[in-house]
Symmetry: C2
Subunit: 456 residues, 2 copies
C-alpha cells in the first residue's frame, strides 16, 4: 500500500493506547507530534476516550488548535466538557476560531453560562463571534441549532465571472461547497446554482439568467428530526435555512443529519430496551444504574400488581393449581405481543408510514392477533391436555391465551398511536412500559376467562 | 410564499389520494400530468404506494421516463418489482437509461434472471450497459453493490485548464460533483481534488502539482455496514472504490449510506422487538404473521418450560403458595434486565464502542446488576414482609431476586458478545430470545435459592 493513500481501516488497539500513555507519561512531545500528525482527528478522539482526563488534556494542549478543535468537536460531550474545564478561556477561544460556526456553537454550548460569555469575548474575529452568538440563540433541536453560517452566497445581479472571483474568496472559509445560494438585494433566498452549473456557464452570463429558481429550504425553527426525514427522503446533501422573511440565514449539511438519524435510532432502541438515558457500555456504573433502574422499578411494581391480582384468585388454588403454573407463560406472551405491535407502530410513525385511522389499525391488529393467538393456542391446548389429561382445563387456558394476545396486541397498537396524537414521543410506550402493563392486564384477563370457562 | 421556492412540507392526504384515483379512473391525462409535474419524485412514490397496482402502472406509463425512473428507484422493492412486471423489456430499458448506474443496477436486480438479460440487451448506450453489467456482478451488501460508476476523473498529467474543459463534459453525466479523483496512466487512484481547489488554482498549473495525494478509499469487496460506519465517522460525503490493484472503479455517496444506516437501525430495532423480517405496518396480515409468529412460538415454548420447572417444585405448594404468586415478577425482572444488558452490548458492538475483554465486561455487568438488584430487593423485601408478615419468606424472595437479576444481566451480556465473536449478528440475541431464556433460568434459580433459604 502506498503511503499517501489510505484504505480506511483504523483499528484502535491496546498496544496503541499503551504507546500513547507511555508517550504522555514520559512527556515525549516529539514522538507524540509525529504519531498524531498521521492520524485523523476522529481516530485521535477515539484514543483520547481511552485516556485519563489529565493525559487527554495534555495532548489537547500539545497539538495544534487546527487539529484539536476538530478532536474536541468529535469527542463525546461528557469527555470534551471535562477537558474544556482544564483549558483557559483564551485557549478555548483559539479552538473556537478554527471551527465552523455550527461546531463552534455546539462546543461553547457545553460550557457553563458564565464561561460562555468569557470565551466569546476572547474570540478575535468579530464576524465569527457575531455568527456564533446568533447560533447560540436557537434551540439545539431546531434547524437553527443544526445550521452553519458558512455558505457560498451570490447576488442575482452578478455575472458568472464576478461570481467565480467572489466564490474563490468565499470558498476559503467553506470546507465543502454543496450549493451556491442566490439571493436578491434584500438577502432573500431566490434560488440556487451548483458549482458545476457555474463551470458550464459562460463567463459573461448574468446569475439572474442561469440560476435555478426552484430551491428547497427549511425554516429556522423547524424540528431537527423533521429535517433529517426530508433530507433523507429527497436525497438532499445540503439545505438552506431561512427566517419568516425568507432571508438566508445558514445551511445544514448531510453529515449533521447523519448524526441526527443515528442518535434518533439509538434513542428509540434504548427506550425499547428500557434504558432512559443516552448511555453506552463504557459509561460508569452509576450512570448506567440511573438509566436502567427506573424501568426495572416499573417492572417490580408490575410484578407486585400481578401478585396482588393472583392473590385475588386464591380460592382456586386447591382445585386449579395448574392455572397458576401457567401465569409466567401468559405474562410472557402478553409482553411479547405488546412489544411487537408497539414496535411496528413506533417504527411506522418514525417513517411517516402509518396511514389510515386508528380504528382501521386496531382492526387489522385484532385480526392478526386472532390468527397468531389461535395457532399458538392449539399447541398450548394439546400440551395441557396431554400433560393434565383434562380437556376443560386445556380449553380454559388456551382460550384465555387467545384473548390475552388480542388484548395485548390492541394495547400495544393503541398506546403509541394515542401518545403520538397527544404529541408525546411514542417510543416511550415500547419496552418495559408495554411489557409491564400487558403483564398485569394479561394475568387479570387470563383468570377471568378461565373462571368463566371452568364455571368456578 | 413564492411559487418557485419550496418550504419542504409535503403531506400526503386522503383528499390527494382520492383526487389521484379519480384522475386515473377517468383517464384525465392532462390533469395528471399537471399535478405530477409539480411534485417531487419521492412524493409521487409515496402516492403510488397508496394506489392499486393497475393505477400505479398507469401513472408510470403516462409520465416521462426521466421522472418515472426516479420514482421506481424510490418505491419499496415489493411495489416496484410488481410494476416492472407490467412493463415491457423495452420500457424498462428506457427507465434504466435515465438512471445513474447504481440505481439502474438495483432496479434490474429486482427482475427475474431471464428478464434481466432481456432488459440489458435493450439498453442502447453501450457504455452504460457495460457499467451496469459490471455492477450486477458485485454482492449487494458490498462497496461494489453500493457504488456508482459516475464520477469525475482526471489524469495527473493534465493542466487545470484542460481539466476544467474535460470536467465540463464529464460533469453532464454526474449529478453531483463531490470530489474529482486523480489517477495515473494505469487508472490507479493517486489522489483527489475538490472543484473548489480547481477554481482557486491557476489555469496553467499541472494537476500533478496541485492534487491532494491523501485520499481515503474503500475496497470493492468491503462490507456496506463497515463503509457506512467509516463514512459517518470521518464525515465523508463520497468515497472512491478501488480493486486490489488500486484501480479506480466507482464512488459511493453519502445518500446511499444514509439508507444503509436507516435500514441497519430498523433491522436491529425489529429484532429486539421480536420481528424477524423487514415488515411495516402496511404489510399484509400474512407477512406480519410470518415475521411475528416464530418469536411468539419461542415465547410459548419458554412458558411451557417455566411451567414444567414449577411443576417440579410442586411439593412447596401447600406451605409456600406465595412463592408461586411471585413467579411473574421474577420472570419479568429477569427478562427486563436481560434485554437492557443485551441492548447496551448490541448497540456498543454496532458502534465499535465495546472495549476490553469479555471478562471485564461481565465483571462490570455483575457489579451493576448487584447494585440494581439490592435496591430493588429492599423494596420487594419490605412489601412481602408487610403483606405476608413473614420475614423469612420476604428474605427468600428478595434474595432470589438479586441472584436472578445478576444471572440475567450476565446472560444478557455474554450471549451477544459470544455471538459476535462467532461472527453471528448479535442483534438476534436481543428481545424474545433473551427474554425467554431468562424467564426459564430466572424461575429455576428463584426456586433453588428460595428452597435453600427456607430450608425446605
Amino acid at each position: 500500500m502506498e503511503e499517501n493513500k489510505e484504505h480506511i481501516t483504523f483499528e484502535i488497539s491496546e498496544e496503541l493506547i499503551a504507546r500513547v500513555e507511555h508517550i504522555v507519561d514520559t512527556e515525549n512531545d516529539a514522538e507524540a507530534l509525529e504519531l498524531f500528525n498521521d492520524l485523523h482527528y476522529a481516530d485521535i478522539a477515539e484514543i483520547l476516550d481511552e485516556l485519563s482526563l489529565d493525559q487527554a488534556t495534555y495532548i489537547i494542549k500539545l497539538l495544534d488548535s487546527e487539529k484539536t478543535s476538530d478532536i474536541l468537536s468529535e469527542l463525546d460531550e461528557d469527555v470534551s466538557s471535562k477537558i474544556l474545564r482544564n483549558l483557559s478561556a483564551k485557549e478555548i477561544a483559539e479552538e473556537i476560531e478554527e471551527l465552523d460556526t455550527d461546531d463552534a456553537a455546539d462546543l461553547i454550548a457545553e460550557l457553563p453560562e458564565d464561561r460562555q460569555k468569557e470565551v466569546i469575548d476572547k474570540i478575535e474575529d468579530e464576524e465569527h463571534k457575531a455568527e456564533i452568538e446568533e447560533l447560540l440563540t436557537y434551540d439545539e433541536h431546531s434547524a437553527g441549532g443544526l445550521m452553519a453560517k458558512e455558505l457560498v452566497k451570490v447576488y442575482e445581479t452578478w455575472t458568472v465571472a464576478g461570481c467565480l472571483r467572489k466564490i474563490r474568496s468565499q470558498a476559503k472559509y467553506v470546507k465543502r461547497v454543496h450549493s451556491i445560494y442566490v439571493v436578491d438585494k434584500q438577502e432573500k433566498l431566490i434560488g440556487r446554482l451548483s458549482l458545476k452549473d457555474l463551470l458550464i456557464a459562460k463567463n459573461e452570463s448574468k446569475i439572474a439568467d442561469i440560476y435555478i429558481p426552484k430551491v428547497d429550504y427549511v425554516h429556522v425553527n423547524d424540528d431537527a428530526e423533521e429535517i433529517a426525514k426530508v433530507m433523507a427522503k429527497y436525497d438532499l446533501e445540503a439545505v438552506p435555512v431561512v427566517d419568516d422573511e425568507k432571508t438566508l440565514l445558514g445551511r445544514i449539511t448531510i453529515d449533521d443529519i447523519v448524526d441526527v438519524i443515528k442518535e434518533e435510532a439509538e434513542k428509540d432502541y434504548q427506550l425499547a430496551a428500557g434504558i432512559t438515558q443516552d448511555v453506552d457500555a463504557e459509561d460508569s456504573i452509576f450512570d448506567l444504574t440511573k438509566a436502567r433502574l427506573p424501568w426495572l422499578f416499573l417492572g417490580l411494581v408490575g410484578g407486585v400488581g400481578a401478585f396482588i391480582i393472583m392473590e385475588g384468585f386464591k380460592e382456586f388454588f386447591e382445585s386449579y393449581v395448574v392455572l397458576f403454573l401457567f401465569t409466567p407463560l401468559i405474562a410472557a406472551m402478553a409482553g411479547n405481543v405488546g412489544v411487537q405491535s408497539s414496535a411496528i407502530i413506533v417504527q411506522g410513525l418514525a417513517n411517516d408510514d402509518v396511514k389510515g385511522s386508528i380504528n382501521n389499525r386496531l382492526f387489522k391488529e385484532m385480526l392478526l392477533a386472532i390468527l397468531n393467538g389461535v395457532i399458538l393456542a392449539i399447541f398450548l391446548f394439546l400440551f395441557v391436555w396431554w400433560w393434565e389429561n383434562n380437556e376443560m382445563t386445556a380449553l380454559a387456558i388456551s382460550t384465555s391465551l387467545i384473548v390475552v394476545i388480542v388484548v395485548a396486541g390492541l394495547i400495544g397498537t393503541f398506546i403509541p398511536l394515542f401518545l403520538d396524537k397527544r404529541g408525546i414521543d411514542p417510543a416511550i410506550a415500547t419496552g418495559p412500559f408495554i411489557t409491564t402493563s400487558n403483564d398485569i392486564f394479561g394475568i387479570l384477563i387470563y383468570f377471568w376467562i378461565a373462571k368463566l370457562i371452568l364455571g368456578i
